[in-house]
């Protein structure tokens, strides 16, 4: 093919730089500002990219307070328990339905897939959670989003694409279904399981509306709800030593944001290379 013209190359480079900056600037700015002192904030416009007088004061304020720390623990708990539960049930269902020769499996699959078409909506979900006695319990943050039909399809089609000879060989050796799953299938599926775990974990970590809807007691709040009242609505954090703290208000707000994003930033680089595989086995092949 012919060589692209110089003007085209420059234009492309310019667009890509703008795109990368548009994503990176706000994130770096939030991190920078969380370490900024009062002087840095007064001197800069908007966010502080590189504080000249960095300080950990904002984080000290957060972690002596209790509200943020407790919310973090709640979020971590929900994320860990939720992700493990979701994974176990999704794996079971995907594996159970991965053989087409089993009667009833098609019907069960359609039952799950059909839920992608409609969403019961806020009121019926709320009434159900109430009826089940889950209102104002942590279970209300996990059970209603336990299995994602999308993840189920991804995992099932991955299992179905594993070479059938492996299963035959294992069966000849006398291994049962469960043994095959644990010894053979799961070790071969590490990549796709990693992606699905990430999807589940992120859903639980970011869960905002369900928490707003189902939790009454602010002592039980996970981090997104604390973020909303403290950063978006600008209310003070009860129980923190904010009054006596020397940290600027904006730095403390940004520190809460950082605390809420950091877990995602930490796992992201390790799982990133599996995305395409994970998204595509489900989306393209259906």
């Amino acid at each position: 093919m012919e060589k692209p013209r110089k003007a085209t190359l420059v234009a492309k480079a310019a667009v890509l730089s703008v795109v990368v900056l548009a994503v990176a600037y706000p994130l770096l700015g939030v991190i920078g500002t969380s370490f900024a002192s009062q002087t840095d904030i007064v001197e800069s416009t908007g966010l502080v990219l590189w504080p000249d007088h960095p300080t950990l004061e904002a984080y000290r304020t957060l972690f002596t307070g209790g509200v943020v720390l407790r919310a973090l623990l709640v979020s971590i708990g929900i994320t860990v328990v939720g992700t493990v539960a979701s994974l176990l049930i999704t794996i079971g269902m995907a594996y159970g339905l991965s053989r087409r020769d089993v009667t009833g499996s098609r019907f069960m699959l359609m039952t799950a897939l059909f839920t992608m078409l409609f969403n019961p909506g806020i009121i019926p979900n709320f009434l159900l959670v109430n009826e089940l006695g889950l209102y104002d319990t942590y279970a209300a943050l996990v059970l209603p989003t336990l299995v994602s039909a999308f993840n189920l399809v991804v995992l099932r089609s991955f299992f179905m694409n594993l070479p059938g000879e492996l299963f035959d060989a294992a069966r000849v050796d006398g291994a049962g279904d469960l043994r095959i799953l644990v010894r053979l299938v799961l070790p071969l599926s590490k990549a796709v399981l990693a992606v699905i775990s990430l999807f589940y974990a992120v859903t639980y970590w970011n869960a905002f509306f369900n928490a707003l809807l189902y939790l009454d007691d602010s002592e039980k709040w996970p981090i997104p709800l604390v973020l909303r009242t403290f950063v978006l609505q600008g209310q003070s954090l009860g129980g923190t030593a904010l009054g006596e703290s020397t940290a600027p208000h904006q730095s403390v707000q940004m520190a809460v944001l950082v605390v809420a994003v950091v877990p995602i930033l930490l796992v992201y680089p390790f799982l990133q290379r599996y995305f395409t595989k994970g998204v595509l086995t489900g989306a393209v092949k259906g």
């Binding site: 492309k12 966010l47 069960m108 970011n206």
Partner: protein, 292 residues
């Protein structure tokens, strides 16, 4: 084998099918202390009540306006970005850009809205810069006129990068020979894009459009809920927030459930309809997948 699938099946039945019974409330004068069994049945009164409210029609109008703006101004962005990324020759550069642009997908709405508040909000970067230039300090986040555009901008920031994954994969499936043949026939880059690339992407684009239609009436619920109060219900109320505020907040259960039911039925009809149209046009659409 099927035993392993039972817990999952139970989940889908309890949390996706059983709640549908809750729509009984749409036909009742539901009182929580009476429950489903003892609340009075009122037929379609809840529906006519909703239809008589200007607030309902305002929510419908806002929902449609936001949906259309998102469809026109968000939907093409990942396609454009994917084409751009695909044309980058350097593997390392492309990987780097991809890692950066996928990231915001995993950040929750509360965090994203907070970040936008720092940039565009009243005390944020943009008003500061405008102010120092001697211009009026414009606060986009509390301007009702700008609300749909603000939402679209945030969506682009969050998901445009993520949306490229599926487009990039579809680009890989286009036969290289078609490009070479077109080039030999004298087609320049623009014509190759039009005659080879876009037809090659058509099935994926149609699939994404159908999936989008199913979500069209939801127009980013959490995102809007978080920002509704800044612009007021006049511009910020959509069908889902209407249901939330009227039902959960004001205990007007029957009317809220009726509106939710209308929304759910139209949403499902849109997906099924769009899928049918796609079949007619000779594309595969969404549902064949399951029995593959």
């Amino acid at each position: 084998m099927l035993l392993l699938a039972l817990p999952g099946l139970a989940y889908f039945v309890v949390f996706h099918y059983v709640p549908l019974l809750g729509y009984m409330v749409a036909f009742q004068d539901y009182q929580p202390y009476l429950g489903y069994m003892h609340s009075v049945w009122v037929g379609f009164t809840n529906f006519t009540t909703a239809f008589a409210q200007p607030a309902f029609w305002s929510a419908v109008g806002n929902t449609l306006q936001i949906a259309v703006i998102q469809l026109v101004f968000f939907f093409p962005v990942p396609i454009g970005l994917a084409l751009l990324l695909n044309s980058v020759v350097s593997e390392r550069l492309r990987r780097f850009v991809q890692s950066v642009v996928y990231l915001p997908h995993f950040i929750g709405w509360v965090i994203i809205v907070s970040i936008f508040q720092q940039i565009l909000g009243g005390a944020g970067l943009l008003p500061d810069v405008l102010g120092s230039l001697g211009l009026p300090r414009y606060d986009m986040m509390s301007d009702p006129e700008a609300f749909p555009w603000l939402l679209t901008l945030q969506m682009v920031w969050k998901d445009a990068g993520w949306g490229t994954i599926i487009i990039l994969a579809a680009l890989l499936t286009i036969d290289r020979q078609s490009y070479e043949a077109a080039a030999i026939d004298g087609a320049g880059p623009a014509r190759r894009l039009w005659h080879v690339t876009l037809p090659g992407l058509a099935p994926v684009i149609i699939l994404l459009l159908i999936l989008n239609l199913g979500q069209v009436l939801s127009v980013g619920f959490e995102q809007i809920l978080l920002q509704r109060d800044a612009v007021g219900p006049g511009a910020g109320e959509v069908l889902d927030t209407y249901v939330y505020y009227h039902g959960i907040k004001d205990n007007d259960w029957g009317v809220a459930a009726a509106v939710g039911l209308i929304k759910a039925v139209i949403g499902t009809a849109l997906v099924l309809g769009a899928n049918k149209v796609a079949h007619r046009l000779g594309h595969e659409g969404v549902y064949r997948g399951a029995d593959r």
